[in-house]
């Protein structure tokens, strides 16, 4: 970690650019949020009420939450054990997992979307929320692995040695030393997977088949037909939901624990 002394300042254009870009990033969002609470210049909750009244949207919300929950539970489980399993390992398994993990992180989403679509077709699986969940686990696994892996890397190596020296076997070390210390990272990974799943559009669009849409898919379909205050409200809701979860993630011990060495 860099020493916290004052660093020589960057030239002014760089600072201006920073603020310009941040504005360009956030102004449209702020505009949208404003549009969701105003009707002809008057503050009103009516657009939000319209969203809540819309049964189709609400059921899409339910689908999103269901898929996100299922996908993140599975993803956290697999990813945590994967991170523990490959940590400091020199085996071929590690090489394979890391390689596939990088691929899943970098390749364009569309490639995964259509590869999964084809695979599900070949397998004869019916497209629906289950296939969506499978797809979501596949891309969020790497994120969980990274989150847990980062905490593992920061963990004092001699703790395991001490446990072993005191008589603990592999399973016991896992149970009494490693997992308790990983709790913040596991929670962080879970929330991250949840967000990634909840916010996913493209892959979901490809593999969810007909009928049970998630919220991002519904939003997209509606967007194709134009902008409207009701959509502003829907978007704002989804935006704040994400922000809220991130707030929870940050404010809880999670991030602090991730960054501390121990």
């Amino acid at each position: 970690m860099a020493i916290e002394r004052v660093r020589p300042a960057a030239p002014l254009p760089a600072k201006i650019l920073l603020w310009l870009v941040l504005s360009l990033l956030y102004v449209p969002i702020l505009v949208m949020i404003l549009g969701s609470v105003l009707d002809a210049g008057i503050l009103t909750p009516k657009w939000f009420l319209q969203v809540f009244d819309d049964g189709v949207l609400m059921s899409a919300l339910g689908n999103s939450l269901l898929v996100a929950l299922g996908a993140s539970v599975l993803s956290t489980f697999l990813g945590t054990f994967a991170a523990i399993g490959i940590f400091r390992s020199k085996s071929k398994i590690r090489w394979a997992i890391e390689g596939l993990s990088v691929i899943s992180l970098i390749f364009p989403e569309i490639v995964f979307a259509l590869s999964l679509l084809s695979w599900f077709f070949v397998l004869g699986l019916e497209l629906g929320l289950t296939t969506v969940m499978i797809a979501h686990v596949s891309f969020s696994l790497s994120y969980v692995m990274m989150t847990v892996g980062a905490r593992l890397a920061n963990m004092d190596a001699s703790l395991e040695d001490a446990a072993r020296d005191l008589g603990a076997g592999e399973m016991e070390i896992l149970r009494s030393v490693i997992l308790p210390l990983l709790k913040p990272a596991i929670t962080g990974g879970f929330i991250l997977s949840f967000l990634l799943s909840f916010d996913d559009f493209l892959i979901t669009y490809f593999v969810n088949g007909v009928g049970r849409d998630t919220l991002p898919v519904k939003l997209y379909a509606a967007m194709k037909m134009g902008v409207s205050p009701k959509l502003h409200a829907l978007s704002t809701m989804m935006f704040f939901f994400t922000v809220a979860l991130l707030w929870v993630l940050l404010k809880s011990q999670v991030l602090k624990a991730l960054l501390d060495r121990k």
Binding site: S158, L159, A162, D165, L166
Partner: protein, 295 residues
């Protein structure tokens, strides 16, 4: 013939391209304070970890009173280790830390409680039961680590540079405590350090290592008087040897009267309880220079 406490026979270990230990053999006597001394990279920590069972040697045997232990996993060996950075479990209290090894042996909870209390009393940490490791100072944490190891009644205590993270004054204090503790328990200690002063102060015998090879084994006196190899003599450094009678001792200084009547007053690193005025002492001091003030 009396069985030696701990025998290391022809221990060899390589890590990928480097050879850490080259066919090393050692014998350690029961009740001895034995140190492994050498510069970093000499393999002393590796050797200690091999004894503990945290690493496996490529070849060689380890015998405890004649019985082979090198085939046993770490958890089954009757040794315990004190780590350089204490390695206290941060998510457990002091009491839970010390009790960890006992819990694994499925000893009944009441007995665990009393053993833990005894161990903490031994290191003067009785009032720290409920504290968390992050609230402890370096010296306190180290004592808890020692208690955690000792409570399991190991046959040999292994210490990996346990005092190197402490500041000078605290280190000297802890050295005396360790020595006292060892004498009191009569337990065999194997101690790793790169600090010669420390090794000389604490040990009955020292093994000097360099690049995976044993350079010399002997008592501090022997090493000082007969530095057999070039390495040993350069590593040990220049010292003056004085012989005299102890005339005064305080908590910080002792006064030694030399044969020619001159008095030397210096700090010392033996436990005070062993110093009695009138006793004859060998004193090894680093070269001292007398320079006029102002230069």
């Amino acid at each position: 013939m009396v069985k030696q406490m701990l025998e290391l026979l022809n221990i060899g270990k390589s890590f990928s391209s480097q050879t850490a230990l080259k066919g090393l053999s050692l014998t350690i006597k029961e009740g001895e304070f034995f140190s492994l001394l050498g510069p970093s990279g000499c393999g002393k920590t590796t050797l200690l970890r091999i004894i503990a069972g945290l690493e496996n040697a490529d070849h060689g045997e380890i015998r405890l009173k004649g019985e082979r232990v090198d085939r046993l996993p770490a958890m089954k060996r009757p040794f315990n280790m004190v780590f350089q950075r204490y390695a206290l479990f941060p998510h457990m209290t002091v009491e839970q830390n010390v009790a960890y090894g006992l819990k694994l042996k499925k000893i009944n909870p009441d007995e665990i409680k009393s053993e833990v209390a005894k161990a903490l009393a031994l290191v003067d940490m009785s009032s720290f039961h409920e504290r968390r490791p992050e609230t402890l100072s370096g010296g306190q944490a180290q004592r808890v680590a020692i208690a955690r190891a000792l409570v399991n009644k190991p046959k040999v205590l292994l210490l990996d540079e346990p005092l190197s993270a402490l500041d000078q004054k605290l280190r000297e204090h802890m050295q005396k405590e360790l020595r006292t503790l060892q004498r009191k328990l009569g337990l065999t200690f194997v101690y790793v350090t790169h600090d010669q002063d420390e090794a000389f102060a604490l040990s009955d015998r020292i093994a000097i290592m360099d690049h995976g090879v044993l350079e010399y084994v002997g008592s501090p006196k022997e090493i000082f008087e007969v530095p057999e190899t070039h390495f040993v003599s350069t590593f040990i450094g220049q010292r003056s040897h004085l012989l005299g009678e102890l005339t005064e001792v305080s908590s910080e200084f002792l006064t030694l009267k030399l044969a020619d009547g001159s008095l030397v007053k210096s700090r010392y690193n033996m436990p005070a309880s062993q110093l009695k005025p009138g006793m004859k002492l060998h004193v090894y001091v680093r070269k001292a220079m007398a320079v006029e003030a102002g230069q």
